[in-house]
């Protein structure tokens, strides 16, 4: 079955420090986004890779690819204002049916095993997302303070989120909702059950300088 992956790297977040968007921050000498693209290329060298970047980052990415001699083939499309718009823009470039994954550009530690698990589950159940247990204690704020939540009932959602391509297309035909959180929630609104796949603790979304240090240790 044909597989495609949309890698969303539309952020301009600079919480890692400096003026450089986090997807271009370096780990082990290369931008995070290159590690992420390579992870999917390793899983399936023939898979179509679509990277969503802000239009203003195109020339930077072109220079980075040349400077680092990054030759893995991928298509770059311009993202939108919010993640919803960016994923939709990437989805419009996915050809044919089959399976499609949506992945965060700053999750470079995703393993080939996890990618395979998600695609396999989506192939069987139409929609699949990786999850991991929530480790810290969680409290919910209330009108009169806060209350503890039972973390054994909570799960943290990761990417890649995988779907039948036609299902994800139908999900994105729904009108934009500012409350949009992720693709799985959008698919659920169609009444489709999302299958949970065992995620990986290492598959972190790099947001802070500490995350970047952890990624440095985990990248081969």
């Amino acid at each position: 079955m044909q597989r495609s992956t949309i890698i969303v790297a539309g952020g301009s977040g600079t919480r890692l420090g400096g003026p450089v968007p986090k997807q271009f921050q370096k780990a082990k000498g290369r931008p995070l986004l290159m590690w992420t693209i390579e992870a999917f290329h390793r899983y399936d060298p023939l898979m179509r890779l679509i990277v969503v970047l802000p239009q203003t980052h195109f020339e930077i990415w072109r220079a980075l690819c040349m400077g680092h001699r990054f030759f893995i083939e991928h298509q770059v499309v311009a993202g939108g204002e919010q993640r919803w718009h960016s994923v939709k823009a990437g989805l419009e470039k996915v050809q044919g049916d089959g399976l499609v994954a949506v992945h965060d550009g700053v999750r470079p530690l995703v393993s080939a095993e996890l990618i395979g698990r998600c695609f396999d589950a989506a192939d069987q159940h139409a929609a699949a997302v990786p999850v991991v247990p929530v480790v810290p204690s969680i409290r919910e704020t209330t009108a009169d303070g806060s209350r503890a939540l039972d973390r054994s009932k909570l799960l943290a959602v990761q990417t890649p989120q995988c779907f039948h391509t036609d299902l994800l297309r139908r999900a994105f035909e729904q009108p934009y909702d500012p409350a949009f959180t992720d693709e799985a929630a959008l698919v659920e609104r169609l009444g489709v059950k999302v299958t949970l796949v065992e995620g990986e603790e290492d598959n972190i979304k790099i947001t802070t300088a500490m995350d970047l240090k952890l990624a440095e240790q985990g990248l081969a």
């Binding site: 370096k26 390793r42 195109f58 930077i60 680092h68 001699r69 030759f71 083939e73």
Partner: protein
């Protein structure tokens, strides 16, 4: 090993071509052994020291940064044309054996105004091999092949006067390289 000096030809833009061509240029002061029109042998290909890359947009040109570097036997410095204004990519080549060219280090920009391109080294490996009656050139990052070129033809120009003869290879990538930007 023969003393080699590298030159780079001026590039032709391929405005409408969908192919990306990699032209490997070699100028040798050593006695010239013509390759004729037959495919290059591994022994011939192993003498290749530098290359220019023609992209669909015609901008992926590399050239030598300094003449001093070009005089080194197994070290060259190449500059990517797009990055010309602020960046210089450096490749250091050597030969593991008769069938393999190793690119030990690749460096991006040292002082990029945008502060993004790495000044650190990464590793690429180039392997030349023959299969199905053709010569092929593969670039590897670690064990992962990132692109493979098929040798299309040889280019040969006899030396004129003091000018040494030019020998080159024209290669075509099996797949487009790197990013393709969609507006």
């Amino acid at each position: 090993m023969s003393l080699l000096i590298l030159i780079v030809q001026s590039m032709q833009c391929l405005h409408h071509s969908t192919m990306r061509l990699l032209v490997i240029a070699l100028l040798s002061l050593a006695p010239h052994h013509g390759w004729g029109q037959s495919p290059p042998t591994e022994r011939a290909v192993e003498r290749v020291f530098s290359f220019q890359e023609l992209g669909r947009d015609g901008v992926r040109e590399w050239y030598i940064c300094s003449e001093a570097t070009a005089q080194l036997v197994d070290t060259i410095m190449l500059q990517n044309m797009l990055l010309k204004s602020f960046c210089c990519s450096h490749l250091v080549w050597s030969f593991d054996d008769k069938s393999r060219i190793s690119v030990h280090r690749v460096m991006g920009c040292q002082e990029p105004p945008i502060g993004l391109v790495s000044s650190e080294w990464s590793n690429l490996r180039v392997k030349v091999f023959e299969q199905f009656g053709f010569s092929w050139v593969s670039l590897f990052r670690g064990r992962v092949p990132v692109v493979t070129y098929k040798v299309l033809e040889l280019m040969e120009r006899p030396g004129m006067g003091d000018e040494a003869p030019f020998i080159g290879l024209k290669l075509v990538a099996l797949h487009p390289l790197g990013p393709t930007f969609v507006q």
